[in-house]
Subunit: 273 residues, 3 copies
């Protein structure tokens, strides 16, 4: 059950090493605390292996990558993998520049990721390599819709197989797939796209859910995705008329803070394909 | 009309490349989303030209400049200018150190900025070069007041002429001037100064307004300034008695989220001089 | 009186130079503004001495230290000390990696800190040098409890003597000690640990309180600690049922914004040992 995956996070309180962008790092730290995990951020190559060794999971996010941090991501990822820790990749803006695309390729080549969490455009850049990305949002033509669902599910499974990791492709409909099975998750609200970093936060959550649910990668990732979407719904329901996107940002994290396993099980709206 | 400038942002949804400080970057991203634009942050010299080429405008903010990012700012600014994109400069703390002052001079020398957005102290450092700055806030002696308004307007026009860019000088009274015309804007609240980054957010907004209103730089910049000030007023009106500066921060962005063209036209309080 | 220390911050409005981590830097800036001080963030070695010379106090936080910023911390700290400014150290995660531990040792060797603000685990790493740290939170076995209070007070005094600085050791019970006297402060709530950066914010506040209360280091540091704890209590009292950790983050800063000297004097719960 997805709810059990969440309860395991609150029970295990995993420490998660994040090498993430400076735009949304505060929200990533706060949502990790809100779900019952603990964050530690460290990105210097002199310490990332030591830090990741203390942790139970690693979250790599390339949102503001630079020439100093990419080698640190590689070193941390290899160390975490060697220790058997789950490693999540958030390929923010993959395809937006050759540097991003090449850095992601390098990361994929050197690190056996457990889960990759991105939007359709980013996954296309990872798997096909010729796309450009519209900022950190999926291109409109890349939206996952009901009418294109079967093709999108097939793409998610194929991406998972090609990349050797669970593919968590988020958008209007969220897909969490390995090569055989795909969770199709219909939680969340479109207004979440007006808050920067909801994707980054989800990647952090995913690392925590994986760390607390060893051997159960696909379900744990689906539970993280459903939790974030449900928090988006609950947070929106708690909005007053004059509240806007900044208050919504807080309401989403507040909802994660209050979320428990049974609420997640009741609210998660998904099917397996 | 200023309101039309805002509606053009919501309609055009420009992607804005920000090379900005790590203190307020999250708020800059969120206010860009709140006004209908999209942000992308990237500061490594290996990718800034590629990223800015995907965008419709560039926002350079030196708040936490370093030796790695200044060359990236120059490269991005030249590329954006070559592509005809508007480029905004926020010279945070210009005058506070020789490094800041010299970096700003270099940026001004190499990049044809569309708009420079700062406080009086920063503009004095840019135009005269011998001042020191009190942090990121204007020195008290540099406040624009009703009694000194004519001199301030003359200074704004002269700064615009000297710097070859629209000068957006914000404070108790906001001035947005080219060499001939100055918008004198009386929106906003003094409490906005107790929220870090309202100036940085305005610079981000300005880049979005310019990108969505090509050929209309002066009015678009004035519309951004008036929007921010009006959001400060609306946000304050939505404060409960126990709310303080942190809640105000959210209320300002919430107000931008809800702001539409007709509300801006009704609420904007300005005259031309 | 502690309240007088706070009133002195609001009256003096000290400018505080922060070299701090990018996770919580925005909150540090906002809480400095909320208490009546002003922040300036600058971390490039080419400017840190110039910037710190303009300020009244310096706050060094190693939360996301790197090879570029550690030398800048040293340079700024030496300059601030040479000018007689108070310098605060927040040794985030000391013990979590050799790089952190060695960097802290270097900072302690080169800079005469006024106050060091951390948790028990970090202080153990500073004084004994063989511990590991669980992220940025104190290890459970290191919690300061009523039953272990006498030993903890003795440790705080001994740490202060060994490190040559006031030791502000925060946790369930907060201890602020020089070699002879220890403030035992029982303000705050455990839920503050679910908001990232409440410790970092306190370190920033401490620098402001020191700068505004020269020659009164111990009491000023205690006033900062009690203010933060009391803000945590007041902020919690202002929470609605659906509010969670993200809203709490705002409520704490809001409470600092509204806090005055007499409220602090009435609400501070401490004894001297």
């Amino acid at each position: 059950m997805l709810g059990t995956c969440l309860e395991n996070v609150r029970r295990g309180a995993p420490l998660i090493h994040c090498i993430t962008n400076y735009v949304t790092v505060n929200d990533v730290a706060n949502i990790l605390l809100a779900c019952g995990a603990s964050p530690i951020m460290a990105d210097d190559i002199q310490e990332v292996e030591d830090v990741t060794a203390l942790c139970a999971g690693l979250n790599i996010n390339i949102g503001t990558l630079n020439q100093r941090t990419v080698p640190a991501m590689v070193a941390a990822g290899k160390k975490a993998a060697a220790m058997g820790h789950p490693v999540v990749l958030d390929p923010v803006g993959a395809g937006a520049s050759p540097m991003r695309t090449q850095s992601v390729r390098r990361l994929l080549h050197e690190i056996p990721f457990s889960v990759i969490r991105g939007n359709v455009s980013e996954f296309k850049a990872l798997t096909a390599g010729a796309d450009t990305t519209r900022g950190v949002d999926a291109q409109l033509t890349d939206a996952v819709t009901e009418s294109g669902l079967d093709a999108a599910v097939a793409f998610a499974k194929s991406a998972a197989a090609q990349l050797g990791a669970v593919a968590a492709i988020t958008g209007a409909i969220d897909l969490v797939a390995d090569r055989n099975t795909c969770y199709v998750i219909r939680n969340g609200r479109s207004e979440m796209g007006l808050v920067t970093g909801t994707g980054c936060q989800l990647s952090g959550l995913t690392a925590a859910f994986l760390a607390a649910n060893p051997g159960n990668t696909l379900e744990a990732a689906a539970a993280a995705v459903a939790s974030m979407g449900l928090a988006g719904e609950i947070g929106w329901a708690n909005m007053a008329p004059t509240d806007g996107s900044a208050t919504y940002r807080n309401r989403i994290i507040d909802a994660i803070y209050h979320l428990d396993g049974s609420t997640l099980d009741k609210g998660a709206n998904y099917e397996l394909k």
